[in-house]
């Protein structure tokens, strides 16, 4: 009975297409909530009792049946997904309101339909074990998100992005298919269950990295990330939030799921993952700093966070490889906890960026500024999110990062120079990433929201409705809760990891509790001190003592808003340092001496994704080759006959040479 309930939303979703415009949103909401309830209940109990055997729901009828399996790992991701999808949906109503005039109802229907199906497919990806069904769900996820990206398809860039996105997802799918097929060829089982026996019998690393590549395309590890910074800005903001918050995490889920089966050479696998993740994190944040498009900046920071998650996972894998349960639990704990945290603050940030876009119709930081006066609530939430994503105490980002640090330091205390070195390097990179994130987000917030507007942007005051504010506040409160009382969420998570990797998480959790309690205590103290000082300040600083005036221009009185620091100039000195990594291009035409009265000049600094460029080079070249091949359709009938003639001749020759 319970199983068939799972299928009901699938059918219900189709009525979104035929709903009248007034009803549509609420109907969609209803379907989503139904889905969330149906899945969250088993997920919660699975997460709370990780030791239990995974529960299976067999749904379907005479035509064939699907088996949904919910185990603790799945459950964790299900809950994250449900939450973010819900907030996204709540946010979408207000966000899309401005499109009511320009878009047809059909497009809205398609949008909400795809949204629900994105949700469904993600849940299926999590719950399905059988190969074919999993792959179908995996690609449905790509297709539905593809349709969501296409919401603003009238822009050419959106079209290009969408194409790029779908193609890369398809490549990832092919890799996964091959991986599963190899497993099947060896074990006869098509699906995750086959991995168990495969890894028992065959070389582990090659197959794992095949799967890893397949999942990495979704997760956005370099060099597979190139779709991500394009797709997130192109999509509507609630979609970007969901994509960046949970959809790419499906890739992480896949990697972890496969890792649970790996049995040999986990050590080297872990090392490689760690190196890759470190590079991903560094590259992501470096590119993020130099962006001027707010959402693109966030997209690159997503790559950075995927890198951090990857560090945790790599650490955990090293733990498996070196039979060090502490490492395993800390690594995976940190990584997966960061999955949760990132889903929270990244969606929050994307929603805020969406509100900014809706109010100002631009995402270019160089044009923004001073928004904190026009939209204070959004600004504060963005600041909150930035603090969380920079892993600043007392917020949740810090918790996951300190877990990883903790694990890294623990991993250093081993009798292997190589491992110690790599750990230290990772620590260093993590620290550097932290610093860079600080840099990037002080730029993002400081320049977009503070100071004065850098251009004549008209800010639509009532753009941000309460409906758009509520989900953000919800997320923010959870972020704060997670930051101050992490143990509530962390304990089940660690228990889950323990059960997934057949370890006793107890002896790791106990010291952790001590550490985390201390951290929370510090956080509380910090907050108290701040408030104390502020109260004192209020006492001391009587209103009559306060006066207002212009910013001190250091003696220069004619300063105006155009002379403020811009996003480009803020990141200029960093860009100088990091130029080899972030290809800097300046578009400027010099003044020739024959120009007596030089005309207007534009000066533009662009940073191109190196990987993207190489990828485009390769594909462009191969397409050129293919087009060269396709010269046969000359329209000349003699040639048509000639092909057959030559074909037969060749076959005969090969026949004569006994090649065929």
């Amino acid at each position: 009975m319970e199983s068939t309930i799972l299928l009901i939303p699938f059918i219900l979703s189709f009525f979104i297409l035929v709903m009248p415009t007034g009803m549509r949103y609420f109907y969609t909401l209803g379907v989503a909530v139904f889905l969330i309830l149906v899945t969250s209940v088993p997920a919660t109990e699975a997460l709370l009792h990780p030791a239990n055997a995974p529960r299976s729901f067999i749904a379907g009828g005479s035509l064939g049946s699907i088996t949904f399996t919910v185990d603790s790992l799945t459950a964790f991701f299900i809950l994250i997904t449900n939450f973010t999808v819900l907030t996204g949906l709540l946010y979408s109503n207000g966000y899309l309101s401005s499109y009511r005039t320009t878009k047809t109802p059909a497009q809205f229907a398609l949008h909400y339909f795809s949204y629900v199906w994105l949700h469904i497919s993600m849940l299926c990806v999590l719950m399905l074990r059988e190969g074919t069904a999993f792959l179908i769900a995996w690609e449905l996820m790509a297709v539905s998100s593809f349709m969501l990206i296409l919401f603003e398809a009238e822009k050419r860039t959106t079209l290009k992005t969408a194409v790029n996105y779908l193609i890369q997802m398809h490549v990832g799918l092919v890799l996964l298919i091959i991986g599963f097929l190899l497993v099947e060829a060896a074990t006869g089982q098509f699906g995750f269950d086959g991995l168990q026996s495969y890894f028992a019998g065959y070389a582990n690393a090659p197959l794992f990295f095949l799967f890893f590549a397949g999942f990495a395309v979704k997760a956005g590890f370099i060099p597979f990330h190139t779709w991500l910074p394009e797709a997130h800005p192109a999509a509507p903001s609630h979609v970007s939030g969901v994509m960046s918050g949970v959809m790419i995490k499906m890739g992480i889920f896949g990697v972890v799921r496969v890792l649970t089966f790996v049995q040999y050479d986990a050590y080297i696998v872990g090392i490689i993952i760690m190196i890759l993740a470190t590079l991903t994190g560094l590259y992501g944040i470096m590119m993020s700093i130099v962006q001027t498009d707010l959402k693109k900046l966030l997209a690159y920071s997503t790559i950075e966070n995927v890198g951090i998650i990857g560090m945790g996972i790599g650490l955990g894998t090293i733990g498996i490889g070196s039979d060090n349960p502490a490492l395993t639990i800390l690594g995976f704990g940190g990584g997966l906890f960061h999955v949760l945290n990132h889903s929270l603050f990244k969606s929050l940030l994307f929603y805020c960026a969406g509100s900014v876009y809706k109010a100002t119709h631009t995402r270019n930081i160089d044009l923004l500024g001073g928004l904190i006066h026009k939209m204070p609530r959004t600004a504060s939430l963005f600041l909150f999110g930035s603090m969380a994503i920079c892993a600043l105490p007392p917020l949740n980002g810090f918790i996951s990062e300190i877990l990883i640090y903790y694990g890294l330091f623990a991993g250093m205390q081993v009798n292997s120079v190589f491992q110690t070195m790599s750990m230290l390097l990772t620590i260093m990179s993590l620290a550097l990433i932290g610093g860079l994130a600080l840099f990037g987000f002080s730029k993002a917030f400081g320049l977009a929201f503070l100071g004065l507007p850098r251009s004549e942007i008209h800010v639509d005051d009532n753009a941000v409705s309460h409906g758009m504010l509520f989900p953000k506040l919800l997320i923010a409160s959870i972020i704060l809760f997670t930051g101050l009382a992490p143990m509530f969420l962390l304990a089940p998570l660690l228990g889950m990891i323990g059960s997934q990797f057949h370890l006793d998480s107890g002896q790791v959790i106990l010291p952790l509790i001590h550490v985390l309690s201390k951290i929370s205590l510090t956080g509380v103290i910090l907050i108290l001190v701040v408030f104390a000082i502020l109260i004192l300040r209020r006492k001391v600083l009587k209103p009559e003592k306060v006066s207002h005036g212009p910013t001190w221009g250091c003696g220069y009185t004619a300063g105006n808003a155009r002379q403020q620091y811009t996003a480009t100039s803020f990141s200029a000195n960093f860009a100088e340092l990091a130029n080899p990594v972030i290809a800097k291009q300046i578009e400027y035409t010099d003044i020739h001496e024959e120009e007596i009265l030089p005309g207007g000049r534009t000066f533009e600094v662009k940073h191109e994704d190196v990987f993207n460029r190489t990828l485009n080079k390769i594909t462009g070249y191969s397409m050129l080759v293919l087009k060269k091949i396709a010269r046969l359709q000359t329209g000349n009938i003699q040639h048509y006959i000639m092909y057959a003639f030559i074909f037969i001749l060749i076959i005969f020759v090969l026949l004569y040479l006994n090649v065929l």
Binding site: A630, R631, L632, Q633, T634, G635, N636, I637, Q638, H639, I641, M642, A644, F645, F652, Y656
Partner: protein, 205 residues
Amino acid sequence: MNVLLIIIFAITLIYLSMTERFPIYAGLIGFQGALLFVLSFIELHAITPVTLIFVALETLVFKVIIVPFLLFRIISKTGEARVHDKAMPGFYSLLFVTLGLLLSIVVSFSMNTSPANMIYFIVAFFAVYTGLFMIISHKKIFSHLVGFLVIENAVLLLSLAIGSEMPMLINIGILLDIFVSVLILGIFVMRLKQSAHELTMLKDD
């Protein structure tokens, strides 16, 4: 006897590939028809008279009389009596055709068929080769038609080789003549003038 006829058939093929005059094409096609007509009498002694009569008549009437007639008709209508623009000069085409002859000999021998059929195989292969080659090397659709006729004759020739065992194959093979008539019709519809490389509206290269 039949070997002699087949040899002559082969020679006509070589001549076809060399010459550039349409009337000669028409004549040679008719002549080949005649050869096949005689050949069918020699080969098909085993089969039932009715079939024999049918085959023979069909060959005589269609291949020897109607087709050449129509071809001459076309020539007179178009008024162009020779190939103006071949894809390659006669010398090279002769080389290619000779090569084809050698090839077909090689293939036929490697098929180690019965000695009786050997000559048939060689010439049939050769005829197919020549037919295709004519189509490829000529630009006028008239020559294409002739090329197809040559291929069809090759089919008939080959079917004669086993005709005594299964005449049905011959009867069916004769159905190809429908195409011939359709093609000739097509040429008339196309007001006869166009040459193949004017028929290149449909292309994307």
